[in-house]
Each structure stands twice: as structure tokens, then as C-alpha cells.
């Protein structure tokens, strides 16, 4: 028994030691070896072949391919990649396997449409994906919303956006904002209020934290744009009344009857420049603001999200 106990002890210790050694050596190997590019992983690009190979377990294969697409996009996005060559094939396979997996259309379009490094820069392919989704899920109003969103934000095709929102508004159970958006696209496509409605709807109807944070950040940017437009209009009115530019923000605020100094959504006062422009104190904190930016300012590649969900 003593010999057996000794053998057991030695074998157990050897096992634990070897395991620890394997972990350490493998970490060293990972440091030496470059990571295999994800492009090598997509051996089968034909949706039909994948469907045949799945032996009827299409739903599971669709989930696997969607997960691969999410991981692929996240990985490339983190590395600030400029190309997402495998993204569209992965999404096409996932939707071919399970045409009712609506999350692929909704998120897939938001991965495909924006320009790199935010997305794949393929808005036309995003549109094709959305139309395929609508064909297979005609009663899901959110797909029409996402289609209109892509037309509006990426292609600036307000007529098509209006048409998409109008089609979605006809779906039973569609959100009332679809009708409003269809009308506003047709009349006031470029204005802030339309954009605010779009992003508010995105914030309220999505339950993914990242999407909500992105929508909240866009709304912050819109608030800044609106404030800057109003303040610069006030500067113009002041100049026309007095023949000169206001010397300080306090003078401008007093002339306009505004209580206190106008502040941005973070509570920092807007700055009045000598040439009458209004600027943000911390433009880096407003990733999607298009106004109030100093001349020559370059926004950070990765947007900062200030709202946590």
C-alpha cells in the first residue's frame, strides 16, 4: 500500500506540474507565432453547400455563423481593420440557413454599412441583406426601420429612406414613429429634429447595450450641434443689432436674455472665439458632434461612449 500511495502522489504531482508547464510553454508559443488570419477560416463560402452539410440542423449552423460574424467583426474592429472581406459572406450564409434570424439583418446591416474602421463600408450589400430579410420577414417593421436608417445615414438617399419608412409604417403593429419618419424624410431629411427622432427610436427600441450607448452618444452630438447653431445665430443677431461681435459669452447671453452661460451636455461652458464662432471646450467628449469643432480638428478614430447601460 505504501508503494501505491507513493506512486499516486508522484503521478498526481507530475500531472499538475506538467499541466502548469504546458500552460506556460503555450503562452510562449502564442507570443512567438503570429495569429492565423481569420480570412483563412472561411473555407466554405457557398450558403447552399453549408445548408446541405448541416444535415437539417440549419438553425444551429445559422447561430454558429452569426456568432462567427460577430467575433470576426469585433476582432477586426478592435484592430482598426480597414477591410472586412469575410463579413458579407458570413452574414449571407447565416441568413440563408435561417432566414428568420432577424438579429443578423438588424446588426449585420450596422456592421456592413458604415465606412471603415467603423464598418465594412458596403452600404449596397447592407441594403441587399435588409431587402432579403424583409422578403422573408415581411411583418417585422424593425427591418424596414433599419433599411431606412442605412439609406439615411450612409447613402444620404432621403427618398429611398422615406420609402422604406413608409413601407414599414404599413406593417401591423409598427411603431407610430415610422409614419412620422417617412414624412420627415420626404420634407426635412437633413435637419436635426429628424435625426433626433431616428436616434431616439434606436435608443428606445434596442436592448443591446453597445447600440444604446452609440445612439445616446449620437443624441449628445445632436444636442451640441443644435446649441451651436442657435448660439451662432444669436451671435449674428447681436452683430446686426450692434454692428460688432460680442466680446464675451456673458455679453451674448445677457443680450439674448439667457440666464447663465450656455453649457454643453457635460456642463462645460461653450467658448466664444474672437471671430464669433462657438466652440466646444472638450470636443473629444462629443464623438458625433459636427459643429463647434476647432479648425483642423481631427476626431478620435474610436468614439467615446459616456452613457453606460
Amino acid at each position: 500500500m505504501k508503494a501505491r500511495r507513493r506512486t499516486t502522489f508522484v503521478a498526481a504531482a507530475s500531472l499538475l506540474f506538467s499541466l502548469a508547464a504546458c500552460v506556460i510553454v503555450l503562452r510562449n508559443i502564442d507570443r512567438i507565432r503570429p495569429q492565423a488570419p481569420l480570412e483563412d477560416a472561411l473555407y466554405v463560402t457557398s450558403p447552399k453547400i453549408v445548408k446541405r452539410a448541416s444535415l437539417g440542423y440549419d438553425g444551429l449552423m445559422a447561430c454558429i455563423y452569426w456568432t462567427r460574424a460577430v467575433q470576426y467583426f469585433g476582432h477586426r474592429h478592435f484592430e482598426r481593420g480597414s477591410s472586412y472581406n469575410e463579413l458579407a459572406p458570413l452574414l449571407e450564409i447565416a441568413t440563408h440557413l435561417d432566414p428568420h434570424l432577424t438579429v443578423v439583418y438588424q446588426f449585420g446591416a450596422s456592421f456592413l454599412a458604415p465606412k471603415p474602421p467603423g464598418g465594412a463600408g458596403e452600404p449596397v450589400r447592407a441594403i441587399q441583406l435588409m431587402e432579403y430579410g424583409i422578403q422573408n420577414n415581411p411583418n417585422d417593421w424593425k427591418l424596414y426601420y433599419d433599411l431606412g436608417f442605412v439609406y439615411y445615414t450612409e447613402l444620404k438617399n432621403y427618398a429611398k429612406a422615406s420609402e422604406a419608412f413608409a413601407r414599414g409604417a404599413l406593417v401591423p403593429g409598427a411603431h407610430p414613429s415610422m409614419r412620422i419618419l417617412a414624412a420627415r424624410m420626404a420634407e426635412h431629411a437633413g435637419d436635426i429634429e429628424t435625426a433626433r427622432i431616428l436616434w431616439t427610436e434606436t435608443l428606445e427600441s434596442n436592448h443591446d447595450d453597445l447600440i444604446k450607448a452609440n445612439a445616446a452618444e449620437h443624441l449628445r452630438g445632436l444636442k451640441v450641434d443644435e446649441d451651436i447653431i442657435n448660439l451662432e445665430a444669436a451671435v449674428e443677431r447681436f452683430k446686426q443689432r450692434t454692428g460688432r461681435l460680442p466680446l464675451t459669452m456673458f455679453e451674448l447671453a445677457s443680450a439674448e436674455g439667457i440666464a447663465g452661460i450656455p453649457v454643453d451636455p457635460d456642463g462645460n461652458a461653450y467658448l466664444l472665439t474672437v471671430d464669433g464662432r462657438i466652440e466646444l471646450q472638450h470636443p473629444d467628449d462629443f464623438s458625433f458632434a459636427t459643429k463647434g469643432l476647432p479648425p483642423g480638428y481631427k476626431s478620435p478614430v474610436k468614439p467615446k461612449f459616456h452613457t453606460k447601460f
Binding site: 444535415l55 440542423y57 438553425g59 444551429l60 452569426w66 456568432t67 467575433q71 428568420h100 438579429v103 446588426f107
Partner: protein, 258 residues
């Protein structure tokens, strides 16, 4: 007669549950159901979908593996161990032996499915925090999976009645794969002409039409399955299993066991 069948079935069941491979496969299926929770966390918005898809696929695939690997040995092991002669020397008819073995294996698979389904529902409860009405359709998917097992059991018993275990496994698995494409076979028959048309039609009806039993994707989306389909699939499983068992009985009755 029925008492002899029940005795053989219960012995087959007892023997099957002693097989350690069974427990490993069940454990692996339960592991996969648990892992589905993690898969959902590295994706977006498909937690519930992955749990149902992966869980039910694991139940289905592992059940098919159990049905094949236990079924192929049901007759051949008895011949190899020479226990078959002892059984048949009693007043047990050959067809009673075959039918008893079938019910024993079917019972084993139903019990396995029950335990694997517990894993699926546990994972579903963890992810969704509560059961909703549409989760009831998961029971329909499980029922269809059991019907699939009954068909595969009958096929493995059919091949086991005259062939070696290895060939029985190959034949049964091949029919399972072809059965998944039965819809495509009929589609091909529709496009073909002449002899090809009739051959394709004949083949598509002889191979088991397993695609009709796969409603995993449907229930994963919370959609219900029609009562008509439930009834028709039940009848199909009964008739197809009866056909395969009849074939097994016909072959086994005439088999020279010396």
C-alpha cells in the same frame, strides 16, 4: 406473448443502461446544453436561440448515436455471446425477440431523452429567467426527436438482424444522412424523367423522411407546430418503424443461426 416481449424489452433496457458509453454521451449532451449559455454570450441577441438550437441538436445527434451504436449490437452481441440460443430455446419466438429488443432500446432512448431534456430546460431557464408560453413547443420538438429515434432504432435493428455491427452502423448512419435529404430527393424526382424519375421517387419513399421531424429551428423562434403535422409524423413513425421491424423479423426468421 406480450409478457415475453415485455421481459425481453426490460432486459434489453437493463443491459443498455449498464453501458458506460451511454452515461458519457448523456454527460456530453448535458455539457453541450450548459455550453450553449456561453456561446450566447459571445454573440449578439441569440442567447435563447442558441440554447434551444444547440440543446435540441445535442439531444438529437447523441440520441441518434446511441440508437445506432446500441441498436447494431442488439442481435449480433447475443449471437456472439451465444445467449441468443438460450433465449430461443425457451418458448420465445424469433419475432418476439426482435420486437422485445426494439421496445427495450426505444425505452432506453426515451429515458435518455428525458434526462438530456432536463439539461436543455435548465439552460433555457438560466438564460431566460422564466418559462414563457412558446417554450411549450420545445416539447413538440423533443417528441419529434423521439419519433426519429424510433425510426433509427428500427433501422439499426433491421441491419443488425443480418449484418455485422460495423456494416450495420454504416448502413444505418447512411440512411440517417440520406433521410435528411429526402425532400431534395423528391424534388429531384420531380425534375427527372423516365427511369430516373421512378427510381428517385421509389428511393425517396423508401428512405426515412427525417427532415419532416426536424422542427428545432421553428421552435427556437417561438413558433408553434401544427397539430396536423404532429399527427402525421406520429403515424409516419409508427408505420415506418413497423415496416423496418417487419423486415427485420422476415430476415431473422429465416436466418441460419448455426
Amino acid at each position: 406473448m406480450s409478457a415475453r416481449i415485455i421481459h425481453i424489452a426490460s432486459n434489453t433496457f437493463r443491459e443498455a443502461v449498464r453501458d458506460r458509453v451511454l452515461y458519457n454521451l448523456i454527460a456530453f449532451a448535458l455539457l453541450l446544453s450548459g455550453a450553449s449559455i456561453l456561446v450566447g454570450q459571445i454573440s449578439i441577441d441569440i442567447e435563447r436561440l442558441v440554447v434551444i438550437n444547440l440543446g435540441l441538436t445535442a439531444v438529437s445527434l447523441f440520441g441518434i448515436v446511441i440508437a445506432i451504436f446500441i441498436g447494431i449490437g442488439l442481435v449480433s452481441k447475443e449471437i456472439e455471446k451465444r445467449t441468443l440460443y438460450t433465449v430461443l430455446s425457451r418458448p420465445v419466438r424469433r419475432w418476439e425477440f426482435i420486437v422485445g429488443k426494439y421496445f427495450g432500446l426505444a425505452g432506453t432512448l426515451v429515458v435518455n431523452t428525458f434526462f438530456m431534456a432536463i439539461g436543455v430546460f435548465a439552460a433555457l431557464l438560466y438564460v431566460s429567467h422564466k418559462f414563457v408560453g412558446s417554450d411549450a413547443s420545445v416539447f413538440v420538438a423533443l417528441y419529434f426527436i423521439v419519433l426519429e429515434f424510433l425510426i433509427v432504432c428500427s433501422l439499426s435493428l433491421l441491419f443488425s438482424s443480418f449484418s455485422s455491427p460495423l456494416l450495420s452502423a454504416v448502413f444505418t448512419f447512411s440512411l440517417f444522412v440520406i433521410g435528411s435529404f429526402a425532400d431534395d430527393l423528391r424534388g429531384f424526382a420531380g425534375m427527372a424523367q423516365g427511369l430516373s424519375h421512378w427510381l428517385a421517387i421509389g428511393t425517396s419513399y423508401i428512405v426515412p423522411n427525417l427532415s419532416a421531424f426536424n422542427v428545432i429551428t421553428t421552435v427556437a423562434h417561438g413558433q408553434s407546430v401544427s397539430t396536423q403535422l404532429i399527427l402525421q409524423n406520429t403515424l409516419y413513425a409508427i408505420f415506418y418503424s413497423a415496416m423496418a421491424l417487419s423486415g427485420a423479423v422476415l430476415i431473422f426468421e429465416r436466418r441460419n443461426l448455426k
